[in-house]
Every structure is written in structure tokens, then in C-alpha cells.
Symmetry: C2
């Protein structure tokens, strides 16, 4: 059974602990956290130097702290990976075998997640460790992809655009609708279908709307309706980009 230690209790660390705890093939060895004092499922530890020996140490802390955390792991020759989309494995102290175990998903502590819906992007200095990380993904029924640093950075950027930015647009829509005392629920079937479509139709081919069909009356009317200057500018910018790229 693979012994795994999770380091960090942010959104990623929190969900990896759930994931590993529920797997019969993984022994969740320890969980390093500075904020959590006790968890009935796993031994919690708050001093990185006192971690017990493990097969894999998974560092789930913010990008800037990965290097220092890895320096303070008091073992050599172990598999130590981080979970960052934008950091090369080289920031990890080279006294250990290094790699990356990047979950391409959005995590919130307050929300359950279907754990089979996490694609893991794996990378490692050597072949055996790469196999081990693939194994770690598969044990949990997750898909894995062997991804190098350049590709991973691009995936992370695409994730920001597809997740953070679209969520921001959903937020704008919600506030617009609520400003007319309507309920955001009215819009949810449309949002669901917008995403259903990407599974059936290339989004590049699915583009519709006033900017696509050069409907300048509608665009002008919408610009006039938007009282917030930043949102108005955003509306103009994206409409213009859609029109330049897709306009009839």
C-alpha cells in the first residue's frame, strides 16, 4: 500500500486528504497543517521537520512556499511532488526525487466533488516515479496526463480563462439580473446548455450572438444599458473580438 503524506490544508490539500482517505489502496500517512489541530481520519502534524517517513510527499501550498517546505522535509531520496500548475519541479529541493501532481480542477472546501472528475497532470524526474504518479491517479479512478512544464503552464492559463473568467462573467450576469429584481435561477438552464454544447460542438464553431452576426443595434443598446464603465468596456472589447474573429 502506498504511504502518502499531504502537506498543506488549502483547497487542494483538503480535497486530496478526502480523496486518499476514501481509497482502499492508499495509506494516508500524515497531514501537515498549521491551522488544523485534529482530524479523526489522519494524524495531523504542524512541524514539517517532524514528518514521518512516507512513499510520497505531496506539497499543496502556495507557489512561493514550495521551495522552503521542500528544504525542510527531513528525508532524502523520497518522492516529493508539488501540485502547482505554474511551477517547475526544479523548485523542490533536489535531495529528494522530484515531480508534479497537478489536479486540473477547481476546489472549494465547502463543496463536494466527484473525485473521478479530476484530471491529474503528472511529471517526474525519472520513469519509475512517473509510473508511481500515474498509478496514484488511477487508483482513484481519475484520468492522468503526462505533461511537461511548458504545457502545464498553458493548461493553467487556459484553466484561469475557462474557470475564473467565466465565473466572473456569471457574477456580472447575476448582478445585472438581480438589479431588475429577477432571480438568477432563470439563467441557469442557459448556462448549463452553454457547457453541454462544448461536449458536442467545438466552441469555435458554436459561437453565436449579436457580435457574431454583426447586429450593431443590439450591441449599441446593450452598451447603453450598462451603467458600470468597466463592464461596458468589457462588453465592447469582447464583442469586438468576437466580431473580428467570427463576424459574418
Amino acid at each position: 500500500m502506498i504511504k502518502v503524506t499531504v502537506i498543506g490544508s488549502g483547497n487542494v490539500g483538503f480535497h486530496l486528504v478526502n480523496l486518499f482517505y476514501n481509497s482502499k489502496k492508499i495509506h494516508l500517512n500524515e497531514w501537515y497543517s498549521r491551522s488544523i489541530k485534529f482530524d479523526p481520519r489522519v494524524k495531523v502534524i504542524n512541524q514539517i521537520q517532524k514528518l514521518a517517513e512516507s512513499d510520497i510527499f505531496i506539497i499543496c501550498v502556495n507557489d512561493e512556499s514550495i521551495s522552503e517546505i521542500s528544504d525542510n522535509i527531513d528525508f532524502e531520496g523520497k518522492l516529493v511532488v508539488h501540485t502547482s500548475g505554474s511551477t517547475p519541479y526544479e523548485v523542490i529541493n533536489k535531495k529528494n526525487r522530484r515531480g508534479v501532481f497537478y489536479p486540473l480542477q477547481t476546489f472549494s472546501k465547502s463543496l463536494d466533488l466527484d473525485y473521478s472528475e479530476i484530471p491529474f497532470c503528472v511529471e517526474a524526474e525519472n520513469e519509475d516515479d512517473l509510473k508511481e504518479l500515474k498509478n496514484l491517479s488511477e487508483i482513484n479512478g481519475c484520468k492522468f496526463y503526462e505533461i511537461g512544464y511548458e504545457e502545464r503552464k498553458t493548461l493553467h492559463l487556459a484553466a484561469i480563462i475557462s474557470n475564473n473568467f467565466t465565473n466572473f462573467l456569471f457574477g456580472i450576469s447575476k448582478e445585472l439580473i438581480e438589479s431588475k429584481n429577477l432571480n438568477f435561477d432563470i439563467l441557469k438552464p442557459l448556462i448549463r446548455e452553454t457547457v453541454n454544447k462544448i461536449h458536442k460542438l467545438d466552441p469555435v464553431k458554436a459561437q453565436t450572438g449579436p457580435a457574431r452576426r454583426n447586429d450593431n443595434n443590439i450591441i449599441k443598446m446593450h452598451e447603453e444599458m450598462l451603467k458600470n464603465d468597466d463592464i461596458k468596456t468589457l462588453y465592447k472589447t469582447i464583442s469586438q473580438m468576437i466580431n473580428e474573429k467570427y463576424g459574418n
Copy 2:
């Protein structure tokens, strides 16, 4: 049984014909189309002046043509509605009883749709017709909302932002990923979860990402990675808006 005539064979007209044809409580009377010559389910007609009498005429043509089409309907005192999100019912010739039957959904001819997932925004000049339009929505298992012109315009604007604009971002993400010879499928679980979240968590509260947490290193790196100046500007603009609104 309500006799319904559908006018227009764009995406909306096409799907309304499917919807009504499959309803046992509606008689799909005629379908006006200039491009379609024959349909086994319904009598197709290409001269608006020759339409047969019907209980409801539903005009599904582009906004600019609604008025002229309504002038050419050779009846008086019938219920005539359009399906536009951005047009008042007053553009319809007042010789008939006027209203709106606006489906807040995205339609593509090539894609099937769960028809219970269409919220209809209904409006009518008089109470009986409003009831009739609500009835028409409910017969099909769809939700309806009684929405006036001002609110409907805002819903349409929010729909553009939540659907067209997010689809545009999905397209950018896809092209970024494919530029590294990776498959867009890797990103789909994240996109699915982005939308699942809006059902459980207010998007305003769910906002995450580098712009939210003031992670300027990542933002700068992403800007450098984006070679297309328009997309770079878009990335900067949205990041700045997220930071101003949500930044820690």
C-alpha cells in the same frame, strides 16, 4: 387543442417546431419558411399572406423583420407574438393581439435539446393572452416567467454575457491548449465543475484565482505567455476587474 403557426426557420423556429410537434396538446398548424420546401410533420408555406387561420402565430425571425412580417399576416384580432429578447411587442402590427414568447436558451439546429430546459419569458397586452402563453409553456413542461420589456432586455444582455462571452473564452482556451498539441478534453471536467458550482455557490462568492488572491507573479507570467495582443489585453482587463472587485 391550441392551433399554433410558427413563422421562421432559424434556430428558434426550428426548435419550436420540434417542441410543438411532439406535444399532444398542440396542433402544429403551419410553418412559414422561405428556405424549407417540405417537412413530413407540418404543412410548410412560403407566402406569409397565405397562412391559414390559427390561435397563435409565433414570429421567430430576426428583430428587424418582425414588424414587416406582422403587417403581412392577413388576419385581425389573433394572438401574434415574437420570440425576441430585445424587442418590445409594440413593433407587432396592432391589428392583432400582441405578445412575447421569448425562450431564454441557446439553440443550434444540429443539437438536440432537453425541451423542459427552456424558460419562456412571456408578456401580452391582455390577461387572457398572458394566460394562454403561460399555458403554452406549461403544456411542454417548460418553466415560464412573466417578464416586461425592460427586464427582458436585461435578461437578454445577461444571456449574451453568460453564453456568448463564456463560449468565446472556451474557444480561446481550446486554441491555447491545442497550440501545445494537447486535447481540449483535458479541460472539460473543470468547465463542467465551474458550472456545477453556480448551482451550489453564488458565483460572486465562488470567485477564485490569481487575480482574486493578488498573485501578480502568475498574472505577469500569463501575460508574457499570451502572444496575441487582443487576448493579452483581455486577460489584463478581466484580471484587473476581478482584483478590484474581489481582491484580498
